[in-house]
Amino acid sequence: MNQKYEQALNDYNKKISSAATEDMVLNMGPQHPSTHGVLRLELITDGEIVKEVIPHIGYLHRCFEKHAESLTYQQTIPFTDRMDYLASMNNSHAFVMGVERMMGIDKDIPKRVEYIRVLVCELNRIGSHLIAIGTYGIDIGAFTPFLWCFRDREHIMGMLEWASGSRMLYNYIWVGGLFYDLPVGFEERCREFVDYFKPKMTELNQLLTDNQVFINRTANVGVLPLDVAINYGCSGPMLRGSGLRWDLRRIDNYSAYPELEFDVPVGKGEMGAVGDCWDRYKVRVDEIEQSLRMIEQCLDRLQKELKRTPDFDPRAKLPRKTIPKAQDYYVRCEGAKGELGFYFMADGKSEIPTRVKARAPSFSNLSVLPEIARGVMIADLIAIVGSIDFVLGEVDR
């Protein structure tokens, strides 16, 4: 092996060994509960002060890109579900949209299918944000919101299980259509859930959002300035928490989103500086409310002009052979954690892509951690890690 390829590794080893004599090297993870999965953070600490954070990822690497190179587009959809396993619908939606555009069939998708896709994606987004909020509470010592969030998320899981047959990894959105139409009575049950859930959000806000202890732990902690966020490629609630109104559902206007009314919440620095942990948390809380609005609008249309008919077949537009023209295509959409992108290289001859790259939002969001966690207290580091809301399945793919 050429010596210069080993250079960075040698430098790193030297840094750790010299830090071990002068400061203290502390390993947080991979089994630490507040790292939300198998993330290992190597901290160089001076007493309680974190001088440097070195994240080590890859413990959950499952070779998504390698698998995608040997499977057809349709077969890869279950693998996308396993990237961000808390919001599987959003992943397969992005992947499927990219393939459909390459095939040139994205305009033929029936309206009812598009609305069902948005409906399940927004339900899944609420589920993902509920986990983010609940586990964030438990990270900094509030146990009750965790139980409340999981109780409410269970209703979403139950509904999506009813529609697709599985609780977390759905394989529901297919290229050209859906696995099945919604089961009879889904819309009514979903509406019941929305009516049940709205007051629960008020309760949750009273318990956690306005809680003075919670505010003291999160306000003015882990401030992420907007220019740093953009330069590090942060997206989603991370970027919006820093005050930029940037939501790909609005910017790219894909699927049924241009026909829906919703606002894009941003961090305003109500409790401290703009872009602190509380702002990021609050953006997620506000997004749940916007998702509920979108779900209600979807349900209105699905129960009125796009009503279920006996001869409606969600698989009618499924292509016999998924062979896109030879081209490269990068598709991006707003996943639950931020900009989720897939880059395809199709050779125009086979159903198997020559290269697929997944641009995971959590990957870029996590890469900003060493920058904003420099010089904070160890306890604050927990608050910052929780506020980033990453899923290791997506970071490592």
Partner: protein, 165 residues
Amino acid sequence: MSFDEITQLLTDKFGADTIAGTETGGLQPALLIHPDHITTVCLELRNNPNTYFDFLSSLTGVDYGTEANRFGVVYHLASIPYQTQLTLKISKENNRDLNELPAFPSITSVYRSADWHEREAYDLTGIFFEGHPDLRRILLPDDWEGFPLRKDYKTAEFYKGIKID
């Protein structure tokens, strides 16, 4: 700015040999850049008030196959103020010798998000980035042999003496 205007802007600024060509066949046109100029081109595209590509969406290392023996990097830039996207590509030939990895300039000085993406490209496709501050493997263990996303990669039979089934 449209794709043609950006091409024109770069040609005027850096001369014709900066741009090796364009790909306009698919849905998204791509600019082929000469590898040595990628950092200055990115810096110009980011700082020029008419383009302002301030967001690096994605960076992909690509192996173009065992016949072509080409390696490349694809950059997807996005401009937040103008809401536009742009694809840049660089590539060069390489004989797959593991002591002479294909080397491209790093753009971490322009976009910090390229840091981890370049580490990933190095880790999986074996592309070396000159001037990267910390080019270690990121997803695989430090002692992994070979680069899995290369088209000639053979699955290892043993890892540290343990048989892989």
